[in-house]
Every structure is written in structure tokens, then in C-alpha cells.
Subunit: 194 residues, 2 copies
């Protein structure tokens, strides 16, 4: 269907992000989202079955985007050092820039229904797997050295995800400053020859 | 006042942690907390003015404990390498073991009232300052090398805090396994001579 519908959907998603960020998923009513989008509660149901459906959409888009960033970083080079640099740079900057959405995506997982959670977990597993592949490729190529590649890969993602928690737009550092320093930290964490 | 009062308070705090963890602060009612504690909603108000008051108590106790752990780690040695080891070990293990409470303490800050938030921010500043002091002491002693001690100190805390998000009691790693590996990662992040 053409016309205003895509705009209404986008407005609703933006309104849901704003509302979930301010009051948490469970503290947000469909009325809050409608009001933030300048629509009637009934209009919300034209586009989404439920509040959970909006959370799922936000989560799915967020995870798709993150997976794409990670895959682009891996594809940017055949050298694990350059791959890790590219992945960490994109991952850290993304969690700074998109911190409001990233907080919802990472901290409201438990509010998804079983089916949606299973689907989102697949994205998370894929993202973890890509990061682990970079670390193990570096270890195999003897350019990285770590006693626990799996935990190290998780720690690398963890470091980036937590940027969304502490990052403030009015802070001293731009997303690029964080991305730069986090590349250095990431290479040290995997024991890359400097 | 003697007798059942301390027990009722403890039961309410435990019930509040459980309820906030399951449904978020905003999604939890005083009735939920009372029910989880096996008490009447009226009984909750005998001990706490509000739901926010319970969140504040949980947050204050959590931050006091974390600050104490960090200070004990710093006091355990005069050598920045050993200090960082002790702090990171305690910090990471604490966020694994106490992950349910740590999630509330770290992710529900925005639900505190202004006065309480200001007080909790003081604890957080103190914790950050202790970690930064360890990193800068190591740089001054020429045993650490980092281009940005402040961001590195924040990243070290960030890594530990995020353990609370991903840690599962039924996972493959005990808190001690994480603590061990995170010590290694922390020393690498600060560029400690290995």
C-alpha cells in the first residue's frame, strides 16, 4: 500500500524507541507510543499487533544492522589484524552513535516473546561467531595470541555493547575517538604483535 | 527497633530485586513487590516510602559494595600491576556472581529521583577515580603504557559491568574463570609489560 503508511511506521518505531528508552518496555503503554508519534492508540494497532511487535521490529533492525557492520568489517581485508580493526571500529562507533536504540536492543531482550527471542538470538549468535572467527583466524595465523579465543571474542563485543550504556552525546569524546582507542584496546586484548 | 523489622526489610529488598529484574523498574508495581515478599502492599509502605526508595536502597548498597571491593583491591599492593589484577578480579567476579542486582544497579539509574541519582553518581565517580588512579600510577611508574588512561580506565570498568548483562548461572564459565581471563585482558589493555 502506497502513501503515508511507511512514514507512519517509521514514526511509530521512532516513538517506540523514545518511549522505551525513557520508561522501559514494561513501563511504556501503547498510548505513550501513540502520543509520542502524534497518532491515536487505535492507529498504532493498524501498523503493529502489539507493543512487543514494535520491540521486535526495533530489535530485528538493530541486529540486522549490527551483523551487516560486522560482516563488512570482516570482508574488508584478508588480514585478521585489519579485520579486527574494521569490526571494532564500526561496532564501537555504532554503539556510541546509536546508543538509545542499542540500549533497548541489548537490555530489553527478555521482553520479547519466545519466537521473536529465538530469532534475535540467531542474529546474536551470528555476530558472536563472526567475531570469534576473526580471533581464531588471527591465532591460527600466529598474529594473535590468547589463551581463550571464545571469551576474548565475547569480551570484545561486550566492550563495544557497553559503550551504549555510558555514552553521552554531550560528553568529551566523539564516536570516532572511542572507535580509534577501542581499536588499540582490541588489538592488545587479542595479543596482536604491535 | 528489634525483632522482625530487619528481616522484613531484607525480604522486601530481595523481592524488589527479583521484581525489577523480571519486569523492569517502571513495569513493577508496589503490589508486585509486596506479593513477591509475601506481604501486603500496606506493609511495604511501613518500610519504604516508595518503589523508588527501594531502588535507591538497592543501588546504594550495590555501589557501596563495589566501591569497597575496588578500594580493597587498590589497598592490596603498592604495585599498580598487582592492584589492577586485584581490582579487575574482584570487579569481574562480582558482576558475574551478582548479575541480577548489578543489572538493576547499572541499567535503572534513570529511574532514581534527582537527589538519589546525585548521590549514586558520587559513588560511580569514586569508583572511576580509583580505577583511573591505578592506570595513571602504572603509566607514571612506566609499567603501563596507554595513549588515553582515562578512556582505558572507563573501558576496564565497562568490560566488568557488561559481564552482568551476558552472564548466566548455567553457562560454561564460573565467575572465577571470567575473573582470571579478565585479569589477563586488563593487563593487556593497559599495555603492561608481560
Amino acid at each position: 500500500m502506497p502513501g503515508a503508511q511507511p512514514n507512519a511506521r517509521t514514526r511509530l518505531v521512532d516513538a517506540a524507541i523514545e518511549s522505551f528508552a525513557a520508561k522501559g518496555f514494561h513501563g511504556t503503554t501503547t498510548r505513550d507510543i501513540a502520543s509520542a508519534a502524534g497518532m491515536s492508540p487505535a492507529a498504532v494497532y493498524v501498523h503493529h499487533k502489539s507493543k512487543e511487535d514494535l520491540l521486535y521490529l526495533i530489535s530485528k533492525e538493530g541486529h540486522e544492522r549490527t551483523l551487516r557492520l560486522v560482516e563488512e568489517g570482516v570482508a574488508s581485508s584478508a588480514d585478521p589484524v585489519e579485520q579486527l580493526r574494521a569490526v571494532m571500529r564500526a561496532f564501537a562507533a555504532h554503539h556510541a552513535r546509536g546508543h538509545t536504540g542499542a540500549r533497548i536492543v541489548n537490555y530489553e531482550l527478555a521482553a520479547l516473546n519466545e519466537e521473536h527471542l529465538a530469532e534475535i538470538r540467531e542474529y546474536r549468535r551470528a555476530i558472536e561467531q563472526r567475531m570469534r572467527d576473526v580471533v581464531t583466524a588471527g591465532v591460527a595465523a600466529d598474529v594473535f595470541a590468547t589463551s581463550n579465543p571464545r571469551m576474548t571474542a565475547l569480551a570484545l563485543l561486550s566492550l563495544g555493547i557497553d559503550v551504549a550504556r555510558w555514552y553521552r552525546d554531550e560528553g568529551d569524546w566523539a564516536p570516532e575517538d572511542i572507535a580509534d582507542h577501542y581499536c588499540e584496546l582490541a588489538l592488545r586484548m587479542v595479543g596482536a604483535a604491535q
